[in-house]
């Protein structure tokens, strides 16, 4: 099993450009999450999905859109990139929303620099 994979690993964008980050998991997990990690801020939830065809906003959703057309994939889009979106983006998946028996499994991250 590859677990959770993310593409690309690193990207440089100019302000105003758009891009899509892809997250894929092969563990048949229902729940998927997108986080951003900034120095001193920890992991902050951008959007999440509780199953194929569903998405919901997290703590910091502005400037991002997501789609979950297939259970194994969760896409994060930036329509018009801004320097404030320079960050490391982590995708995670879980068989349950949290709690008793299972935790979240993280991908390797995508480093995004917006100039």
């Amino acid at each position: 099993n590859a677990g959770v994979t993310q593409t690309p690993k690193f990207r440089v964008l100019k302000t105003g450009q758009s891009m899509t980050l892809l997250c894929a998991q092969d563990m048949n997990h229902e729940y998927m999450y997108w986080y951003r990690q900034d120095p001193g801020m920890g992991l902050r939830l951008i959007h999440y999905s509780v199953g194929e065809g569903t998405t919901a906003k997290g703590e910091v959703p502005d400037g991002y859109n997501v789609s979950r057309l297939k259970k194994q994939n969760f896409l994060l889009g930036l329509e018009s990139a801004a320097p404030s979106q320079t960050s490391v983006y982590f995708c995670a998946s879980s068989p349950t929303p949290g709690g008793a028996q299972e935790t979240q499994y993280f991908g390797p991250g995508t480093r995004l620099l917006v100039l």
Binding site: Y33, G42, G98, T103, F106
Partner: protein, 112 residues
């Protein structure tokens, strides 16, 4: 609301002990602990459920005081490999599909 971790950073010599605390203002169902090495993804360490649970993982253990909504991670006889940033992720009582809320992290540096 993010749980509060303390200390923000700690520097130890190899073989010394450390305690990292995680405190929430909300009633909690579970606390998850992760360790992240520089440039890598967070790696899961352990889950603690409500009920005063304690767990151990080699020389790393943790406790959860549900009444105080606090969890502590204990690292004994620290090794160089323990260096990294430790995060707690909390799940509030009553759940929610948005899963865990993470603290800002505690940076742990182990020196030879």
């Amino acid at each position: 609301q993010q749980p509060v971790q303390s200390p923000q950073a700690v520097i130890l010599r190899e073989g010394e002990d450390a305690v990292i605390n995680c405190s929430s203002s909300k009633a909690l169902y579970s606390v998850h602990w992760y360790r992240q090495k520089h440039g890598e993804a967070p790696v899961f360490l352990m889950i603690l459920l409500k009920g005063g649970e304690q767990k151990g993982h080699e020389k790393i253990s943790a406790s959860f005081n549900e009444k105080k909504q606090q969890s502590s991670l204990y690292l004994t006889a620290s090794q160089l490999s323990y260096s990294g940033t430790y995060f707690c992720g909390t799940e509030k009582l009553g759940g929610g599909a948005d899963g865990l809320t993470f603290g800002k992290g505690t940076h742990l540096i182990i020196q030879p």
